[in-house]
Structures are given as structure tokens and as C-alpha cells.
Symmetry: C2
Subunit: 472 residues, 2 copies
């Protein structure tokens, strides 16, 4: 296969510079607009092809205040984190231009070529498919991903290696593969053919042309800021509301049985979580007053706060809104916490944001698949994802609201808005139904727990956690 | 020494809960006000004293959405990062309440008691002095630091160990010291006497009293939100403006000599930076058009962008302003980048923010010592801090401004505001003079480089970097 290389005519350098600067302002000015976007440039290719020089030249041509460059040494894939986790903080916000070398492709190539157990072709292709889907999600969430491959022939590479002084050779070896090894070079070129069909390929024999091609690719990306399309192509097929949501009655447990079982189960759950080699993410969703807080309290009963984190999720902050909506969760997952509990979660996208009309139909309809991919990546990196919907009846909610209003130190939990939200009760049920149908996967199933009787529900939650931990 | 333990009378639980919730709202409402503050609670003490239970009970009493809890395993001191670096992201923003167990004290104690080469008393005391100064800086920047020590007698500790089931024992061992070792317990108690004079000590024999004391300490901290004092006690003693700033003339270098020397020096600098075991932070400050960008370009000439980061520092974002002003630099320094270049820096606090009157006199006068401590911590954690002031004359600036205006792709660098800023030329010189006098330390000296002739200046900068790298 011969790949078509990018060959734009060379421009006058001052003119190119001016165009780049104007495009930077254009891009920045999309912030908060209906064509808001950012540009993420992934830079990969052959060592000594001149990626670094091209980036430095770019910095000369643009307004450097508005060019972000991030470059890290390779992170070998280790099954402990997803391929995007090391880069979550490098995903640019609306209006930003980020050049990222050191990215998931360099990590994949380093892993594929380096480790004692190299990846086979099907594993490699599976990663590529995942990455391409992730990049499509980024694009749909207004992060334009531009991929640039710096190509160089074996002959030229060897000539450039010959011209390095010994110190530089050492450095270039540190950060990559052995570029004197023809077999490795050929393997890399062969592997690259498996994914660079949609990349911009730059022939790096000529340095000046190389720098210009790179800048022109970025210029084109920055200038291309169309209005976001929010048209929905096909008619939405709503799911039926599960019976359990319409009738969330459950059998009450006697106080005595509850106490005894709670004690036993919470010890078991604590031990199961504590000694599981995987990380755990436990999500609680449900209507206001559905009992999320009470369930969490029982769940952590026999855990020490040093063993878990509880994230209470409210509306996103302004700076978080300038990123893909999942970004604030990506960044929360970067540290190596073993047990994470979410009191509300990323499902807000297809619940409150959908029902309250905060986002376009287009956006929430797309979100189900984005969430599924997100959770699949987590599960593939040694994480158990356990999701609960706590179901209560509208009458029971009213009873609990009134009880809260009558208890001084619970009153903060209830506002006029909570009463108003009851008018949208059915819309929330519809949204929940769609959510179950589309995001209850074999790797991260939903548990719907009838919660009109809190105690029974709490025991059920603990049993469900135990069961899922033991099953996978 | 017998320490006085906290003994507030016990309150009715519902009343305490209500008070806590009201205090949380009070604290949140300080945001953006003249009494803005946050509360950072450091939790330490004897294992099994019940820190975790007290935090869990606190969560029951407060509005959990506005309680942040962060708990990490101990980070052993390793000389590669400062003691505050692992916690930079856990410093609360205005209006927030953060409980941090797992903090610099637990790290210090774990390091002091655990490593093969334990800390001697003078090292230990030096760390404590640094930490207390850091906490005072936090306090001055509106992060109220509340320290709580959970105390438990050896006898009670052993009794509680007896009652643990074997799994729990395993877990408690994982995360700390050997609590069956009387000698270690005594060492810890002895060490603690060296720093807990200003702590809140909670006697943890009685669980209910313990939880209440803890909550009441936090309640008192949240309720105490006085207006910030911005009175300046003593008259400011301005420094004399260095001669070099008034006459930044330098000898021009011939074009030939410049090219030759630049090539040699930039290779040497690249190698010196690359193969130094320490990290490097290189700061550029100076008037507009002083040549910071050009100097940086030459500095990185023989480095690959994967080896360095360039941070272009502009005015802080809104969410950054809710933190201590150094916070946005603390968080930038968390990753393990070897070479960091700052195009403007934390010195903005005593330059633009001072001269433009963006902060109180009180705040900028305090900043010099805060910055010195910050840089000292960096130097102590294997970092070379190299600082440049590029000096140009007012006439030379005007010449460069005009040249920028006449070059289409340089025009973005110049705005009407830049011309207006010239009116404050002398005020900036005064601010720079004070900055040199107060922040040019033996561990992080300022280099003032006359820059009316750019080429000569660029060579001088490279020579200064080489010299400082070789000297330390």
C-alpha cells in the first residue's frame, strides 16, 4: 500500500504565519459559540523525521501564548489504566490548540514493539478500533482530532543517525526504539500501515517542506469551524418503562432481621471490595430522596475512608463545560484510588441534562454509546463498574420530602425546585427506561432496586455488589 | 509534657448537625467576598483511634455535597518532590471544606519511622518548621488550616487490635506502621510531641465524645470568617533600582561571532540540561518586548520538545483565583517534567499585580517570602531554579513596538494597552528592584541581562545557565 502524502504548495513564510495567527484567534473566538471547538494534534512517526523541529517552527509562526504543547515519554500499556487516562488533562478546552506528542499511538507502538509479550495483530487492531471510536467521540464533543505521521525512509534515518553526536544518540535511544535496527524499523512501518489510512502523512526528506506541511495541516484544522449540526436523523425509539419503576414496592424487612443481615453483609462487602485485585466504581442514580445517601452510608460502614472516595456530582463548573462532558470524570479517575463511589454520575447527561433540555437531542442520543465505550475501557483496565438505580414511587417521594421539611437538619436537602421537578416525573421515568435499555451491558449491568422500603433495599444493594464482584 | 485535650461540652446531635450545615453555607457564601476563605482539616494520630469513624459521622451531620474528603496512602519522602506536591490538588478553593487524611504529616511520620535511614531530630524539626511556614502561607492566602490529632493510649490501642478480625488487621498494617510494636508506638508519641503544640488533640477513648469533638472543631473553624485585614504595619523600604535597569546597554556582538558562539553554547546548554540529574525551572521576566520569546527560542534550539515544557503565563482564570496565587504553579509542577521554561511566572504577583493595583499592599508585600519558601522547597527537591530579568531601555522598547506594528505577523504582540503600560515604566522598575532585593537568594539568584542588543543578551543567558548548572 502506498499512502498519499500531504503536498500543499509552499507559502510565503510571513503570510503563513499571519494566516496561522488569524486562525488562532478565529478558533479562540468560537468559545461559547455554536461552533465552539478545540484542535488536538496527535504527532507520531519515525524518529529524527523532525517532529520536534516542526513543532518548534510552528511555535515561531503562531502566537505562542495560544499554542499548547505536551510531550511525555511513552506509557507502556499495563492493564491498570485505560490508554486515554494519562492524557485526560491534555485534552484541550474549547478554543484551545494542543499539540500532543507522546500520545496513545506512541504508547501502543512502544508496547507492541517492546514488551517481552508483544501484542498480536488482533489485539493491536482491537486497540486501534477503540482509539478510533474514542477519537470520534472527542470529535462529536467538539475536540477536532488531527493526526500527523512524520515519515522518513530507512536510508535517510540512518544518515541522520550518522550525523548525531554520541550524546544525542543516547537521548534518542532513551525515548524510543532502537533506530539502528532495520527489523524494528520495518515492523514499525508495517504496523503503522494498520492505522494511518486517515492520517496526514508528511514526507520528511525536505525540512522546509516538512515544517510547512505540518503548519498548513494545523491551519486548515483551525480554520474549519462550522456550526454544530444538531439534526437528529432517525426517529427515537423509546424503551418501555420497566414494571419495577412503576411499582417500586418491596417487602419490608423486620428491624431485627435487618440489623443482623446488614451487619453480616456490610462486613462481607467491605472484605470483598478490599481484597479484590480490581478497582471498583459504584454508581448511585435515582430520583431525589430515593435513598442514595443512606445506601452509601451502609455501603462504607465497614470501610475506612482511606479506602474509598465519594464523589457527589452536581452541575458542571464553567471551565468543565468547555470540555467533553465525560472529561470531568476522566480527570477524576486519574489517581489510583481502589474504590470510588459516585452519588450521581455521568448519567446526568441522559437524565437531568436530557429532561431539562440543557443539551440537544443529538447530544443525549449520542451519549449512550459514548458512556458504554467509557465503561468498557474502564472494565478492560481492571475495574468493576456497578450501577444502581434506586426506584421509589411518587407518593413515597412526597412523604420523604415532607419528612425532610419537618426536620431542621434535613431541610437543606429539599428546595422548591425539588417539588417542581415532580411535574417531570414521567419524563424522568422515560429517560431512565432508555438509559437501562441502552447502557445495561454485560460488562456493566444496571441494578434496579425498589426502594419504597429503605432497609430491604439497602440489603439488596449489598447483595448485588457481592454478586457482581464474585461473578466477573 | 501533657497536652491539653479539646473538651467542648457535648451538644444535642440534631442541633450540632443543623449548626454544621448552617456553617457550611456561611463558608460557601464567603466566595468572592472580602472574608473569602476555605477550611483544610489535617487529620492525623494513632491508628484505630477512630479518625475514619469521626469523618464518617461528620458526613452524616453535614450537607455531604459540600464536604470534600481525600485520603491517600503515605507518600514516603524521596527528595524528588516537595512534601506539598502530592497534595496540591487537594488544597480547597474558597468556600470549600476539605478533610485530608493522608497529608504531609503522615508522610513525614511514615518516613521518619520507617525508612532504613530514619530522619534525625534536626532533619525532622527542619521539616516541621518548613511545614508550619507553608501552613502560615496557606492561612495568609485564605486557606484556614485546622490540625487534629486523634490520640489513644497504648492499652486501648492493643485492646482494639485484639477485637479486629484478621482481615482488618491485615488492612491496618498495610496502610501504616506496626501497631503491635510498643517501641514504635512510643517513638511516634515522642515524635508527635515535637509538633502538636498548636494542634487540636482529641482523646479517643470515648467514641461518641470523639466524634463530637471533631465536628465541633470543624464547626468553629467554619464559623470564624472575619474580614481580611489588609493593613500594612511597617513602612515599605523600597530598594534602589539597579544601574543595569536604568542603562541596559550592552556590547553588540558581530554577526559572525554570534552565530558561532550561539551554536556552541546552545549545544552545551542542551547537554548540560539533558544530563543533569536534577530538574530545571527556567524563568523569564522583563518588560514587554524585552526579548523573552527570542531567548526561549535559542535556549531550546538543541532540545527536543519532548524534553521540555514551555508555560506562557497570563492572568489567572476565575477558578484559579479561588486558590492561593501560587496554587496554579503548584499544580503545574506535579508531573515529572525535567525541564520547565516559564515565559512570565509567579513573579507576576509582585510585578503586574502590584503595579496595576490588582491586590492589596499587604498581599504583595507578603509574597516575597512566600515565593522564597516556594523556590527553596523546589531546590530542596532536586530542582535548579534559574531566573532571568531581561532589561531594555524605554527607547529600545518603543523601537521594538513600532517594528512589531509594521510587521503583519508580529502585530498581535502589540496592543494599545502595551503603549499605555509605558506610563508606568518607573513603577515597574521599582517593583523589579524590590523583587531582586528580596528574592535573589543564594539558592535561586536573579540574572539581570541587559538586552538592548538581543544577540549579546542571548549568549549571556546561555552562559548564565551553564554557570548556574555547574555551580550548584
Amino acid at each position: 500500500m502506498t499512502l498519499k502524502k500531504t503536498t500543499n504548495p509552499l507559502l510565503d513564510e510571513d503570510e503563513l504565519s499571519l494566516n496561522l495567527i488569524e486562525a488562532q484567534y478565529l478558533l479562540r473566538n468560537t468559545r461559547g459559540q455554536n461552533n465552539a471547538k478545540s484542535v488536538l494534534v496527535l504527532v507520531n512517526g519515525i524518529e529524527l523525521a523532525g517532529k520536534g523541529e516542526a513543532v518548534k517552527q510552528l511555535r515561531e509562526w503562531v502566537d505562542p501564548r495560544y499554542l499548547l504543547v505536551k510531550a511525555d515519554a511513552a506509557n507502556m500499556f499495563n492493564n491498570q489504566q485505560t490508554y486515554w487516562q494519562p492524557y485526560a488533562n491534555s485534552i484541550p478546552a474549547e478554543g484551545q490548540l494542543m499539540v500532543l506528542f507522546g500520545n496513545w499511538y506512541s504508547d501502543l507502538l512502544a508496547t507492541a514493539l517492546h514488551v517481552s509479550k508483544p501484542l498480536d495483530e488482533s489485539q493491536f487492531d482491537a486497540y486501534i478500533a477503540d482509539m478510533q471510536a474514542f477519537e470520534q467521540d472527542l470529535k462529536n464533543n467538539h475536540v477536532d482530532v488531527v493526526k500527523v505521521w512524520f515519515d522518513l525512509s530507512w536510508k535517510s534515518l540512518q544518515k541522520r543517525m550518522d550525523n548525531l553526536d554520541p550524546h544525542e544518540v543516547r537521548w534518542h535511544k532513551l525515548h524510543g526504539l532502537d533506530w539502528r535496527n532495520k527489523k524494528q524499523y520495518d515492523s514499525l512501518q508495517k504496523l503503522s500501515q494498520r492505522f494511518i489510512k486517515d492520517w496526514n502523512i508528511i514526507d520528511c526528506e525536505d525540512e522546509k517542506a516538512r515544517n510547512q506541511q505540518f503548519a498548513q495541516i494545523i491551519l486548515a484544522a483551525m480554520k474549519n469551524c462550522p456550526e454544530h449540526v444538531s439534526e437528529v436523523k432517525s426517529k427515537w425509539k423509546p424503551a418501555a418503562v420497566p414494571e419495577l419503576l412503576l411499582h417500586p414496592e418491596n417487602q419490608p424487612t423486620t428491624k431485627e432481621d435487618y440489623k443482623k443481615e446488614l451487619k453480616e453483609l456490610s462486613v462481607k462487602v467491605a472484605e470483598a471490595l478490599r481484597f479484590d485485585d480490581r478497582k471498583a466504581i459504584i454508581v448511585f442514580e435515582g430520583m431525589d430522596a430515593a435513598g442514595k445517601g443512606g445506601a452509601i452510608k451502609r455501603l462504607v460502614k465497614n470501610l475506612d475512608p482511606r479506602e474509598y472516595d465519594i464523589h457527589s456530582i452536581a452541575a458542571p463548573e464553567r471551565y468543565e463545560k468547555r470540555h467533553p462532558y465525560l472529561w470531568r470524570f476522566w480527570t477524576k479517575l486519574q489517581t489510583n484510588e481502589d474504590i470510588r463511589i459516585f452519588d450521581r454520575s455521568w448519567y446526568g447527561r441522559v437524565l437531568v441534562e436530557r429532561v431539562e433540555g440543557l443539551i440537544s437531542e443529538h447530544a443525549w442520543q449520542r451519549a449512550y454509546e459514548e458512556i458504554n465505550r467509557f465503561e468498557k475501557d474502564l472494565v478492560n483496565s481492571q475495574t468493576v463498574v456497578i450501577k444502581f438505580w434506586l426506584a421509589i414511587s411518587k407518593d413515597e417521594q412526597a412523604t420523604r420530602f415532607k419528612a425532610r421539611e419537618e426536620t431542621p437538619n434535613k431541610r437543606f436537602k429539599i428546595t422548591p425546585e425539588d417539588w417542581r421537578n415532580r411535574e417531570k416525573w414521567d419524563a424522568y421515568l422515560d429517560a431512565a427506561a432508555d438509559m437501562f435499555e441502552r447502557t445495561s451491558t454485560d460488562y456493566a449491568p444496571w441494578h434496579i432496586i425498589a426502594n419504597d422500603d429503605k432497609n430491604t433495599a439497602r440489603l439488596e444493594i449489598l447483595r448485588a455488589i457481592l454478586k457482581q464482584l464474585r461473578a466477573n
